[in-house]
Structures are given as C-alpha cells and as structure tokens.
Amino acid sequence: MRQEAAVNTQASFASALLDPEQPYPAGLYCGNGADPASRFAVYRNNVQSSLINALADAYPVVAQLVGDEFFRAMAALYVRRFPPTSAVLSDYGHDFADFIGGFPPAASLPYLADVARLERLRVSAYHAADACPVQPQQIAAAMAEPATLGQLRLELHPSLGLLESAHPVVALWATHQGDGDWQAIDLQQGQNALVLRHDLEVEVFAIDAGVACFIHSLHHSQPLQVAAANALAADPAFEPSQALALLIGRGTITRLSPHSEV
C-alpha cells in the first residue's frame, strides 16, 4: 500500500507541475507552516520558465518577430501540451514550427512558422555530426573524368539542411542579424534556404530554385547527372558549376562515390 501511495505522489506532482489550474499535490508541507502552494509554485515556475527559455534560445528570431510577451505565452502553451520526452534538450521544440502554424493568434504572421523551421535547421546544423570535407584534389580528379562524372554521387555534410518557403524566410531572418532592410523585403517573394555548418559556424544562404533542387537531389543520393537534369527542369538558368563551387567552398562534400559503389 505504501508503494502505491508513493507512485501517486510523483504522478500527481508531475501533472500539477505542468497544469497551473491543478491544486498542489497532497502530502506536502512547509516546516514554517507556510502554505505549500507558494512553495510548490517555485517548482512549477522552474519547469515552465526553463522550458520556455530553452525554446527562446532555439528560436530567437521568432521571439523578436512576435515580441517577448507573445512568445512566452505561446511557448507556455506548447510546453504544457508537448513537454520534453528526453533529458537532452537540444532537440526540444523540433516541431514548434508546426505548432506555430496551427496557432490562430499567430495567423497574422504567415511567415512565422517558416522562420521557426529555419531556426530549427540552424540548431540541428550546429549540433550535427562532424565530417571531413573531401580534398579539392580529389574533386578535381573526379571532374577530369567526363566518362564517369555523371554517375558520381556526392555525400554532403550532416549539418546540411534545405527549406523551401513561400515566404522570404532568409531575408526576414537576416534583418534580425543586422543584415538588410525590413522595408526592402517583398513579403510575396518565396525563398529557398540552405543551412550548413562550416568551420564551426552555421551559415544561412538564400539559393535559387535550381540550386535547391540540385542539392536536394544530391542529398537524396541521386547521381550528379540526374541532380543536374532535375535542377535544369526546375530552373532553365541553372549552372551546375556555381552550385558545385558553393558546396566545395563550404567544405560540404564529404565523400565521392562512383555509381557502382552505391
């Protein structure tokens, strides 16, 4: 019976922590005779505010776009509905963008969810696995073999992420890094974002639709020739050399494998 009482204690404690409407659990007291509610509030506040802070750290631009008060109220609802399920908080809030997208009070900022997606890609890129870039000589050697070049597959850095947005997501994000002018942004103009980590820094690029398609295809193990054809179909002005120069310059190609190896 004693065991059962103990089981009830942590269950009711946990549930009351996440729901401010609930009374504090039974069986608690304060040595000085104070109302346990005022003491229980410390734990409730620790849980709530530490998790809201974790979201604020991961989504600084979303917080700036809506203001601190709105952000914390929105995050509090998310925390209550989706508390973390791991003690590793680096991934906490990975689906916050979906929550924002379905959060009616934020509907007046239709780009907000995609800005959150971009910020999540940045966090993921920051903590992604390490991988060494392929040496430029090796790439040059592969380029000099036109017979096999088209069948080559490129492995890309684990930090790489792509986002296709109907909103100017990179421009919106950049104005909050002190780059660009809010007034100059055309809110009707969609953008493709490329996120990757290079020399310990996470970088964000706005890329053309063709480049995005090319990198997306490579990322999904398509050979170079197929990736280039897909990109040309998406954007007749696509230039493979420019896209490759970007990937090589950022150390993003981590392995070259001939078709037969895959």
Partner: protein, 297 residues
C-alpha cells in the same frame, strides 16, 4: 577535525577513488567562455560541464570541450538521469553517459538526489523526494545500476528543496548517509543547497552538515541563490545559480573546510552568466580559502 591528508575512501565494488579532481577551485564551463579559456589558459583547477549539453553528435560543443579537456581536469555533472524517479532508469540515457565518460575520461561523475522524469515526460527540474524506505531502496538500486554500468563510482549531490513530504520517515542527512553506506557512492556537497534548504525549512545549516557522511565528500559546489518570500512573508531562497555566492554560503564553506580539509570546489553560474573575469574572481576566492584549509592543523 579531519586532516587534509586523509584520502577519499575507495568505491567498494570497483576499488576506484570516488573522485580524482585536484584539491582546487574549478568553474562551470559556459559555452560563451570557450574561446577565452583556450586563449588565456587561466589558472583554474578544473572545469565542470552538464553532461546533457554534450549529448549531441558533433559541432562546436565537442570541438571546444575536447581542446579544453586536453589542458584541464574535468568533472561531468549529470542533470537528467532522474535517480529518484519511481520508474526505471532510462537505459538510453545511461548509455549516452557511458559514451561521454569514455570520450572525455572525466575525473569525476556526479548526479543529483532528485527526480526529473515521470514516465516519458522530462520536467527539466530537480524535484524533491519523500525520505522513506521505499524511496531509499529505489535510489540505492538506481545508483548501483549507474555505478555498475559506468564501472566507476559516482558522487550524489544533496538537493535544494522548497517543500517536505508528510510521508518522510527520516531526515535528509540520514537518508543520504544510508545511500552512501549502501552503495559506496560519494557525496557532492552543495553548500548553497544546504543553506537554501536550511533557511527554507528553518534548520541549522551547520548541524545539517555535521549529520552528513563527511568522509565521503568528493566535491563541493558553491553557487548563488535568488530570494523571495512565501505565504507567511518568510524568506524563501531559490537555488537559481544566477547570482554571486552569498557571504553566508562562503562562511559555511569555510566551516566545512575546517571539518574535511581542502576538497575540489566548483563555482557554478548557469543563469545571467557574467564576464569570465567575474567568475574567475570567485574561483580565486575559493582557492584562497582552500589554501587556508591546507594550513589548518
């Protein structure tokens, strides 16, 4: 009074020392200070990190910790194992800890006398336990599991608490003494937690310290607290690691050193992190007190 020369006891099962940190002051390593530490190589006894922050695949955290570990002793401090939880320990989490320990070979591993998970939900706070027999058995089983899996002893940190449980049948110091007797783990004595809890529960901090198994102290923590009031208007201290160390905590620390001799001491600041130089000054202050403790009879 115990002399400085008394070595820490060995963990009975593994015959490993409870901690091999130097008898110096150390500092909680903050990511915003990575580059400065590497550039300036400050004279600091050791660094401590929260294990969970480094449970990521790669990137700057591992890059910088690896470089800093080459030059300083390291204490790995867990905040998410939920040793006091009613449910079983998270085996995945335990595996992640084993991987980190293998990678960084820390001089000490510690966790809390608290719970932080219930079922699948992680609450991200160190929550209080009822001090009764079922809890004692459960905590001891969990610590045995940790020490067997990691094949090394751990240090257990005394909590800062704001509430007590009617079902408790022993006091906190007695509970900790039994855990340490039964599992052979060491004690991470957080002096700020002692002060915060004793003020909150109207107890004498020094009497509490004297009731602890001081022979097993492998590390000391010092931090700052926030101050509030409860429903009676009484002082309610909150362990927020967001302020300088209070004078009352420094005073208590000195009394502790008089009892146990110089012991590895961590300065913790996790919120409103100030400039590195501010934290370094607190490290130096602790080092000076450790110097004094070396001269004690």
């Amino acid at each position: 009074m115990m002399n400085m020369a008394v070595p820490l006891p060995l963990h009975p099962a593994t015959q490993a020392p409870l901690s091999s940190l130097p008898q110096r002051a150390g500092l909680g390593l903050k990511t915003e200070h990575f580059r400065q530490v590497l550039r300036e190589q400050p004279d600091i006894g050791f660094f401590e990190v929260h294990a969970e922050n480094y449970m990521v695949a790669g990137g700057p955290f591992h890059h910088y910790l690896g470089l800093i570990r080459e030059q300083y002793p390291l204490s790995l401090h867990g905040v998410g194992l939920s040793i006091g939880a009613e449910g079983p320990l998270d085996q995945q989490h335990l595996k992640r800890l084993a991987v980190l320990i293998e990678r960084y070979q820390p001089q000490s591993f510690s966790e809390h006398l608290a719970w932080s998970s219930h079922g699948p939900v992680f609450l991200n706070d160190l929550l209080p336990l009822a001090y009764d027999r079922p809890t004692l058995n459960r905590v001891c089983e969990h610590i045995d599991q940790v020490q067997n899996t990691l094949r090394r002893p751990m240090l257990l940190e005394n909590p800062a608490t704001y509430l007590e449980f009617r079902q408790s049948s022993m006091d906190e110091a007695e509970f900790i003494r039994e855990v340490i007797d039964r599992t052979g783990c060491g004690l991470l004595l957080d002096v700020n937690n002692v002060y915060v809890s004793c003020i909150n529960h109207r107890r004498d901090p020094l009497a509490y310290i004297d009731a602890l198994p001081l022979h097993a102290v492998g590390e000391i923590h010092l931090a700052g607290f926030a101050e509030d009031t409860d429903s009676l208007g009484d002082r309610l201290l909150i362990d927020d690691h967001g302020a300088p160390i209070d004078n009352a905590v420094w005073a208590l620390y000195l009394r502790l050193l008089e009892r146990i001799g110089p012991t590895a001491t961590l300065i913790e600041r996790d919120n409103q992190v100030p400039a590195f130089s501010v934290l370094h000054a607190e490290v130096r202050q602790a080092d000076e007190l450790l110097q004094c403790a070396r001269r004690l009879p």
